[in-house]
Symmetry: C2
Subunit: 105 residues, 2 copies
DNA sequence: CTCCTTCATCAAATTATTTTGATTTATTAG
DNA sequence: CTAATAAATCAAAATAATTTGATGAAGGAG
């Protein structure tokens, strides 16, 4: 809706934040974020190798992080390259946590 | 494994962070944090009135937030007073998000 | 063209979380 | 003392998230 009578941005859209935190609410996905961050940009097949996780499972988790806008995705041919959305991570998390999740980024 | 040749504390306990984010991963709980923050210190019965939510449900969510150390709890007689653990919130979240979740705190 | 790789998606099975209503313990008030 | 209130906990039911293995679409390699 977002009608013109609604208070502008007084509603911080708790659902939207909840979605982002939900994406972060899993150790596997935190590990994934960390790995992607360290690699800069990685394709799924490399992640499968490094994480020792079935590909469909990986795609599932990547999608959750992507939907939460914590990742960027770029398609090159049949490959999909994922990278961290640092801007969004920074916007969300403290420096301390960013450093923990993304050391040397 | 965890052999002695492994780098110490390379794992910053992702499980622990995941737990905290899981606590934040629910719009009802974010609303709850916000309300508690604005009140400073509130007992469960007041929260039941303000949130229009069954008491057992509220206690369930409070427990999750407490376990994640996002809240403090103080018992006075039969009353339980909950308040925000601002230190932990600040440690975890960006200023922007802290402000959104805890306006005027 | 044919075969192979990459990756997303799907449906079913599994597992985890949440909701509900009842019960329980402790405390307070009359 | 007895009544009533505060809040935690419990078990069952309802929902939601995750895992798994299979399939399919699309592009690359020979």
């Amino acid at each position: 809706m977002a009608s013109s009578t609604e208070p502008i941005s007084t509603s911080p859209d708790l659902d939207l934040y909840a979605q982002k935190f939900k994406a972060l609410a899993d150790p596997k996905r935190l590990e994934l974020l960390n790995l992607i961050c360290r690699r800069g940009s990685v394709c799924v097949c490399d992640l499968v190798d490094e994480m020792a996780i079935p590909q469909s499972k990986l795609s599932y988790h990547l999608k959750i992080l992507l939907n939460a806008e914590l990742l960027h995705k770029e398609n090159r041919g049949t490959w999909s390259y994922y990278s961290l959305n640092s801007k969004e991570m920074d916007r969300l998390l403290s420096n301390e946590i960013c450093r923990v999740l993304s050391p040397s980024c």
